[in-house]
């Protein structure tokens, strides 16, 4: 009877230990999952930055990124550039342009900051000075509108 009791005591002790180990492992797995989810979510936002701001990120945003994130961003934009070059003939197709369906060929834009000389297709240049307004080809302005240099004026 005594040996039975001690055996059952020993068994219950082991069960407690197994329970603790399993519980701790679940906690560790959950922590791992939270960390990975957090980092992955940041990656998704950084990915979105490439599409919104272009290949050069504003320094304020760059400042908030870790070295590994900057490396990921650089690899991503390189991979994207390779892909875009491979599609659409000799020069490739810039998929970060033409985000919205084109409504007209030319649009009225106002300059928000001093940008300097800007060349349009037929060789003529326009001086983009702050607060100046211009009637320019839509596809040339897309990038500058996204960067905040120009503003589309809707009459």
């Amino acid at each position: 009877a005594a040996s039975c009791r001690s055996r059952s005591e020993a068994k219950s002790g082991r069960t407690d230990l197994i329970f603790l180990i399993r519980f701790r492992h679940c906690c560790l797995l959950r922590n791992q999952r939270c960390v990975v989810a957090y980092l992955y979510d940041r990656l998704l936002r950084i990915r979105a930055l490439r599409w919104e701001y272009g290949s050069v990120l504003p320094s304020a945003i760059h400042f908030h990124m870790s070295a590994e994130e900057v490396e990921w961003f650089n690899r991503y934009k390189k991979s994207l550039a390779t892909y875009m070059r491979s599609v659409g003939g000799e020069e490739g197709l810039d998929l970060t342009q033409d985000i919205k369906p084109p409504k007209s060929l030319y649009i009225e834009v106002r300059c928000l900051k001093d940008y300097g000389e800007f060349e349009i297709d037929d060789g003529t240049t326009v001086l983009l000075k702050k607060n100046s307004q211009h009637f320019l080809p839509r596809w040339k302005c897309e990038q500058l509108i996204r960067q905040g240099v120009l503003e589309h004026v809707l009459s």
Binding site: L39, R47, S66, P101, P102
Partner: protein, 215 residues
């Protein structure tokens, strides 16, 4: 008219038919929850078509009214093409482990869902993300926690989501799964020209075959 040089079928499409194929592929890709078959022939022909149109434009007289109209047309086609390719990239990035797994386990004759360039992009995306997670977090973790299965962690596309479709070719006896426990599975016929709201999973093969158009 530009003709496709992919595969054994020689398809000769008029420019109008080509653009319609592009628009159909674009809409299907937009509304389908999963990445659809790649259409390299359509893309190649559309690019050729755009180059052709741009060359014509350069040769045209300046100030000719037709120039603006043609220019707009080029812009519109380029928008649809870009939107189509962007939509695919978004899905590739969103479901990258599953997309790569599906491509790896593809049978010999089955059509590919990734073009060779998309495949390269997907592999690079996966490697890049795996390297990042390893260096940013996993390598600092206890030895038995240094691996994460992206195939298990990244969500799969929801094939049960509802889609709107228009029937292009009449289909008979499509099996529909019951929604509740009280219902039983039943069959429906899809009349040409009719429109339906149905779970994507039920009609996925019909999208691939071109029998229905997602709207």
């Amino acid at each position: 008219a530009p003709d496709s040089d992919g595969g054994s079928e020689e398809l000769v499409l008029t420019p109008a038919q080509l653009i319609r194929s592009l628009e159909q592929a674009w809409l299907n890709e937009k509304f389908a929850p999963e990445l659809l078959e790649s259409k390299p022939e359509i893309i190649e022909c559309v690019v050729e078509q755009l180059d052709h149109m741009e060359a014509n434009l350069k040769r045209a007289k300046k100030g000719d009214l037709k120039v603006s109209v043609h220019h707009m047309e080029i812009e519109r086609i380029r928008y649809v093409l870009s939107s189509y390719l962007r939509c695919r990239l978004v899905k590739i990035e969103k479901f990258f482990p599953h997309v790569l797994e599906k491509e790896k386990s593809r049978a010999e004759g089955e059509p590919s869902i990734l073009s060779p360039e998309e495949f390269a992009f997907a592999k690079e995306y996966m490697a890049n993300t795996e390297t990042y997670l390893k260096n940013a977090a996993l390598k600092h973790m206890p030895p038995n926690l240094q691996k994460v299965s992206l195939l298990k962690s990244v969500p799969k596309p929801n094939l049960d989501s509802f889609v709107f479709l228009r029937v292009l070719e009449r289909q008979e006896n499509i099996l529909v799964e019951p929604e509740t426990d009280e219902q039983r599975e039943y069959t429906i016929d899809l009349e040409e020209g009719s429109q339906h709201l149905i779970r994507y999973k039920t009609i996925a093969p019909l999208v691939a075959s071109g029998a229905v158009q997602l709207i």
